[in-house]
Symmetry: C2
Subunit: 367 residues, 2 copies
Amino acid sequence: MHEFIPPATRFAPLPERFAMKRGGVLHGARVAYETFGQPSAAGDNVVLLLTGLSPDAHAASSPDDPAPGWWESMLGPGKPIDTDQWHVICVNSLGGCQGSTGPASRDPATGQPYRLGFPELSIEDIADAAANTVRHLGFDRLACVVGASMGGMSALALLARHPDLARSHISISAAAYSLPYSIAIRSLQREAIRSDPLWNDGQYLPERYPERGMLTARKIGMTTYRSAREWERRFGRERSGIGDAAFGLEFAVEFYLDHHARRFVRRFDPNSYLYLSRSMDWFDLGELCGGSTAEALARLRVDQALVIGTETDILFPLHQQREIADGLRAGGADVEFLALESDLGHDAFLADLDSFGPPAAKFLSAL
Amino acid sequence: MHEFIPPATRFAPLPERFAMKRGGVLHGARVAYETFGQPSAAGDNVVLLLTGLSPDAHAASSPDDPAPGWWESMLGPGKPIDTDQWHVICVNSLGGCQGSTGPASRDPATGQPYRLGFPELSIEDIADAAANTVRHLGFDRLACVVGASMGGMSALALLARHPDLARSHISISAAAYSLPYSIAIRSLQREAIRSDPLWNDGQYLPERYPERGMLTARKIGMTTYRSAREWERRFGRERSGIGDAAFGLEFAVEFYLDHHARRFVRRFDPNSYLYLSRSMDWFDLGELCGGSTAEALARLRVDQALVIGTETDILFPLHQQREIADGLRAGGADVEFLALESDLGHDAFLADLDSFGPPAAKFLSAL
């Protein structure tokens, strides 16, 4: 598969031997990242941004790459995460396929892509790789670690495993562990990919990409990203085509799913999708810290935290964000918890910046 | 595919030429049904039961077939739908594959199974076929038409197209039209089936059944039948296996999905699944009656109705049952609306009989 690495992306080497939590070692691995804004002389204005499953390191436009990033409205000069003030590092998750070492990368031991030979990936590995990147760039203290969705899990893992690295945290639509509904959804996404004969146990050929499986996987995901209420308001029973005898697309909502899924596939390595997806199922902060979720959260050392979720999120339901807020507060952090009423569900942090921007800006300016 | 027709199932012929709503004609079609309890001399104790997508006509055990039926706890002597009092007719939906004419049936014009040559199926056709069956059995007036899930749609269509047939209605977890979330879920289920190479555009061979696609389709459905809350309570993060490098099953919820999906496939014709699924997407009572949903419901002629839904149903959300209740009431019916708090979601009518039984019994005994 052709790698889609944004042009301003740079690379931080991991230690020559990078041990993975569940076993296995990566040799000569790297993490792709982009930076936005300038570090202060004291290096005390660094914000680390950890992403969801699919985004790359190009969170926003910059002088080196003017193309809009995936969090363009949130990040930049004068924006809620104000790069006139903050030096933001956004990393592509380890195991991803947009520049960081992952299943599509060359295994130095064989000279061939890892594919399913990539070691089992955990959220903790993603967190360790991100922490390594921060240190490689010369910083040993973050003003804030920001994580949304899977990135919120990675941020919690980072706080647990690198307790002195960050002094504050913004947690967005995240969770301290995966619940069975989200595990089930991801299991079905993986099943869709694995069922595509072209996937070929991971050995798919670039010219025979398992598009069918990836499309279905993405569409299954999309049924959990917004909310039934938003779709009802937006699509209702609108038709965009004529139903045919072969059960093709007819309703607007079907075309919407298809359109967005097609924009996603072929840019993403199916094996990387499988690894990242499974890492989320496995994540359990309590298990990681050897105690209950509440105990594990209370042990995390941050001074301030902002925890945001939306009432309509079915993938990372609101009670999981409340749990993070309560746990961090029990540990002594000064925590603000925001339950947004947006009908944009899990995607609200990407689609409803009017709701997410101001509290994030206020939180950061008070640091 | 081998047809799984329960042993006590009987067959009612449809008119030699049965015209379908969206075009096309069935010749010599039939409807599979079972009856429970005895008709009164006056024939005034007849209850018609219309089913969801997958159940057959064997709703409960009977002298002719002691095997438990799909609504065993609800139907029988002394049960909520008391067959000591009521003569219950349960029909297998037209287009189904458990005895009624459907895509797996032989097309008399070719001598071969219809497969995708079956005419486009609508909920209205299912309703017409059921009404025909009632009349074939010698009844021109039903004490009650009971419909759950898709069967509730069929019941509304029957009330609209056969206005003098039923004097009361029990509507369970139903809807007057499909919303985009449920359309999306069903579209993905169909995509999973259609993507299975063994489906072969409907021409699958009995010995090469598209099991993979049907399993995925059923599992996608199952993510909408219960509720995230029930799964959280029931499975949490329990493991039932060991995760392997090939992304096999590990969490209890994954095994649950797989186990139940395997019980379903191979007993159901994939083409039938596609037709029934699409008929639900198309259903829109307002469109059928040429007006708004509220107007269409208010035009239905029933004296009494009981409308039940559950707060956790994501496939047929509660506001759709409230809409049915409000609409029937506006038309002059004496309507009881029950919003159950069960965490069993759309499946509550199958799994939480303690909640559904008593109100149904009370409603029927007051007729």
